[in-house]
């Protein structure tokens, strides 16, 4: 391996750190910061120092564009690999990345950001998670395979109206699921993060025949739907599911303001995708490692979320990609975006030793593996999910009262997702 002493590997990233999605994306900065200092305290990567260069766009496209321009003109030589957070930025920059030959890692993207308007065109963005629509397809597979849990399944979308929220509501998904015997209602029911009452949306979906509600929303979104179902006394009849983000810790915490008649929080039993390992899977060394770093850096519980976990993985992927390319090209200076792209395309890599699997093909630049999991609450021994409030682990809430401890229980193994971007 080449010696990079005296060199600096920059990790470039920008995204919404102060806007409406900051609450989920902010821990990315924390994770990258922690990872950088971790490596540097160990003498760097092959002698090269790590550094991060980032910008806050506040979620605005104008700001993202200007941040991109600034990056590309200030670091025109070094910038070959960029970490993005949001599908919106991906959509905005797709063409420009191709023009400037810059590879971009993104945790999950919309079809348009990864594959362009036609859903096929190659680009320079690579997502570690499967496309949201593919996640939905994989959920349909799961539904179709478990008729005892989901008899006569009809899925209705109750979701946010933005690009993220409506990803998965495409006709292709409906067609695919229909083929599996799972009906998907044509009209999604939209609600906004500021809505205090979404009875109307939920009931609309139920009136239209839904017995499974699927949501692409985060934080209060899934909790609000779950609470509404309990209020209506339908928590048993109607199942709740969503994208990978609904499995996040915040959802588990916010969702316990409403208890089901059986005494467990309303979001108990919510299904979701889990295309990577989760905080609770401590048997895995990758998770162990991140957890250790998390505690070492005294990160608060709010940051124990998907973004923090995945960002450690992405940093590892960035380092690995860079090293492989450098090894091929001989020196850091010689590396171009196209070289990076060649590396990425040929990479078959267990990120961080198993957090998730990175493997792309020319026609597939998003994650291919997914598994379905369910949100549960830990039992007193922390060995598995609690069956009821009696055997649930309750910890002291600093704000008074007790808290259930959310855990994610995988229900399936990693399987290939169907390709629905069609």
């Amino acid at each position: 391996e080449v010696d990079l002493t005296g060199e600096t590997i920059n990790i470039f990233h920008f995204g919404d750190l102060s806007g409406p999605y900051a609450f989920i994306t902010q821990p990315i900065v924390s994770a990258v910061t922690d990872a950088v200092s971790y490596w540097n305290s160990r003498g760097g990567v092959c002698g090269a120092e790590l550094a991060q260069i980032y910008e806050d766009t506040g979620g605005s496209r104008e700001a993202a564009q200007s941040a991109y321009d600034r990056f590309t003109s200030t670091y025109s030589d070094e910038l070959d690999l960029l970490l993005l957070y949001s599908s919106d930025d991906g959509e905005l920059l797709r063409e420009q990345l191709a023009e400037d030959e810059i590879v971009s890692y993104i945790s999950a993207g919309s079809i348009e950001s990864l594959y362009g308007e036609d859903g096929q065109t190659p680009g320079w963005l690579y997502a570690s998670n499967p496309l949201y629509i593919n996640q939905f397809g994989s959920f349909c597979q799961f539904v179709a395979a478990s008729p005892e849990v989901f008899p006569d399944p009809v899925i209705g979308f109750v979701t946010w109206p933005n690009a993220f929220g409506r990803a998965g509501t495409e006709p292709a998904a409906r067609e695919y699921c229909g083929g599996l015997g799972v009906e998907v209602l044509a009209d999604p029911q939209f609600f906004l993060p500021t809505d205090t009452d979404i009875l109307t949306q939920v009931q609309n979906a139920i009136d239209a025949g839904a017995n499974i509600i699927y949501t692409n929303s985060l934080a209060t979104g899934p909790a609000l739907i779950a609470g509404t179902l309990v209020d209506l006394g339908l928590e048993e009849e109607i199942k709740l599911a969503g994208v990978n983000w609904v499995m996040d810790t915040t959802v588990g915490l916010i969702g316990q303001r409403v208890l089901k008649p059986n005494g467990l929080p309303s979001v108990d039993g919510m299904f979701g995708s889990m295309p990577f390992l989760w905080w609770t899977e401590l048997s895995n060394p990758a998770v162990q490692f991140v957890y250790q770093q998390f505690t070492l850096n005294e990160r608060g519980p709010a940051e124990q979320n998907i973004a923090y976990l995945l960002s450690w993985g992405v940093v590892d992927a960035i380092i690995e990609t860079t090293l492989r390319t450098v090894n091929r090209m001989g020196s850091l200076n010689a590396v171009t975006g196209a070289d990076i792209r060649d590396t990425v395309a040929a990479m078959d890599y267990e990120v961080l030793g198993g957090l998730y699997h990175q493997y792309f093909e020319e026609s597939m630049r998003d994650g291919v593996l997914n598994r379905i999991a369910v949100l549960k609450f830990a039992n007193t021994t922390m060995t598995g999910p609690a069956a009821g409030p009696e055997d649930a682990l309750l910890i002291d809430n600093p704000a008074g009262g007790k808290l259930f401890v959310p855990i994610v229980v995988p229900l399936t193994d990693f399987m290939e997702v169907p390709q629905l971007r069609g």
């Binding site: 750190l17 102060s18 409406p20 900051a22 609450f23 902010q26 109206p161 009209d187 999604p188 029911q189 939209f190 609600f191 906004l192 993060p193 500021t194 809505d195 205090t196 009452d197 009875l199 109307t200 949306q201 009931q203 609309n204 009136d207 934080a219 209060t220 909790a223 609000l224 609470g227 209020d231 209506l232 006394g233 915040t250 915490l253 916010i254 316990q256 303001r257 409403v258 208890l259 709010a302 940051e303 809430n397 600093p398 704000a399 008074g400 009262g401 007790k402």
Partner: protein, 394 residues
């Protein structure tokens, strides 16, 4: 004779209203025909209850407008700040005496210097301030977590007053007598700064504000289920208790403000100030003090709204966007009218909910219906339902 002309005019206006309402009903009736009675009743209940909170938010905007003619774009962020302060006192078991006394002292200092910094020179004033600081600190810190309502309420009041006064002092006061637009823009700048302050102090994570909870189970109040009417309604309708509480609190705030404006001369002074700040100064009105009072009051209202909203869905920075959704309510009711704020809020609440009922896959409820209704009302009544008529005399 003129009386009769006026009456005719009024009748005409009413006729137009009724016509518009009938048209709306006909349109909706068609859309609603297939729905069960329970759904319609439920939508109405939701609309009214949600509208109560909208009304409360609208009230804060109206109060500022009444005193300064400024449309406050920072209201949403004042809601967030208020809610977060409440959260800090409500959920933290060990309140730091140093922090609390700092807050109390800052608040007292701001109150003392509202009219003029010269007030600091008098010993009596300093004593009052010191006493106030000690008292407030005591209220914020006495006892343990079981006193949290007291802590939170005092803390929020102090925090709101401080926020309101600081906003007025450092951003609005320098603009007395300057173009109104500039002041409106200033509120936008204030919104940005409050946004930053919230992020520094509380981060961006969603917070849980357990105020509408059953102390026994620590879970949210169970909704009232109208099981008794199940047959009649052909289905179940429920009433969410936390929204009812919020609604009642909103009503109380309204009654308070209506009385305040009716029985104190401050209301009159506010109206004068909003019309012409320079003129108000020239007749000796303490424009600075009046503005300070209003901003403090508005910040307080914003805090209540923030706490209620935060209690109902959880506290996040997104709450600031509620204020945007309330704009049509403010205008519908009339920019200067306290009653209008409530009525506007409720109407917008109902309109949103029915819009959602009819078609939520195209976001008719949140993005279309309120604005269409607003346009209709403004064309019939340019000053909103209860607003002040513009005086045109040459």
């Amino acid at each position: 004779m003129t009386e009769s002309i006026n009456r005719n005019k009024r009748q005409l206006t009413w006729a137009l209203y009724i016509l518009a309402a009938v048209a709306l009903l006909l349109f909706m009736g068609d859309q609603l025909a297939g729905k069960k009675a329970a759904r319609i009743v439920q939508t109405l209940i939701s609309g009214v209850l949600v509208g109560g909170v909208y009304g409360l938010v609208a009230l804060g905007i109206v109060v500022i407008n009444k005193a300064s003619g400024v449309f406050n774009f920072a209201h949403g962020w004042m809601m967030v700040v208020g809610g977060m302060i409440f959260w800090s006192f409500f959920t933290v078991s060990e309140i730091s005496v140093a922090g609390a006394s700092l807050l109390a002292a800052a608040t007292m200092l701001m109150m003392l210097t509202t009219a003029s910094y010269r007030n600091l020179l008098e010993r009596r004033n300093l004593l009052i301030a010191a006493g106030g600081t000690v008292g407030l600190t005591a209220l914020m810190t006495v006892g343990g977590i079981e006193w949290r309502w007291l802590h939170a309420l005092t803390g929020t009041v102090a925090g709101a007053i401080l926020t309101g006064l600081a906003v007025e002092r450092f951003t609005i006061r320098p603009l007395i007598g300057q173009p109104l637009f500039t002041a409106v823009l200033m509120t936008l700048a204030v919104a940005e700064v409050l946004h930053g302050v919230t992020q520094i102090a509380w981060g961006t994570v969603e917070l849980d504000l357990p105020i509408f909870v059953d102390p026994q189970t620590n879970s949210r109040f169970k909704p009232i289920r109208l099981d008794a009417f199940r047959e009649a309604l052909d289905g179940l309708a429920i009433i969410r208790v936390e929204l009812v509480i919020a609604f009642v609190l909103a009503l109380l705030a309204f009654v308070g403000f209506i009385l305040f404006f009716r029985y104190t001369s401050v209301g009159l002074a506010m109206r004068a100030t909003s019309e012409d700040q320079q003129l108000a100064q020239s007749v000796g009105l303490r424009v600075r003090v009046i503005l300070a009072i209003t901003w403090a009051a508005a910040a307080f209202l914003a805090s209540i709204a923030g706490v209620l909203q935060g209690g109902a869905v959880g506290l996040s920075l997104n709450i600031s966007f509620v204020a945007l959704r309330v704009f049509p309510a403010v205008l519908l009711g009339g920019l200067e009218s306290v009653t209008g704020a409530l009525v506007g809020g409720i109407i917008i609440g109902i309109v949103e909910q029915f819009g959602t009922l009819i078609n939520s896959s195209q976001q008719v409820g949140a993005n279309l219906a309120p604005y269409v209704v607003l346009m209709l009302v403004l064309v019939i009544r340019p000053e909103g339902l209860f607003g002040e008529k513009r005086i045109e005399r040459i």
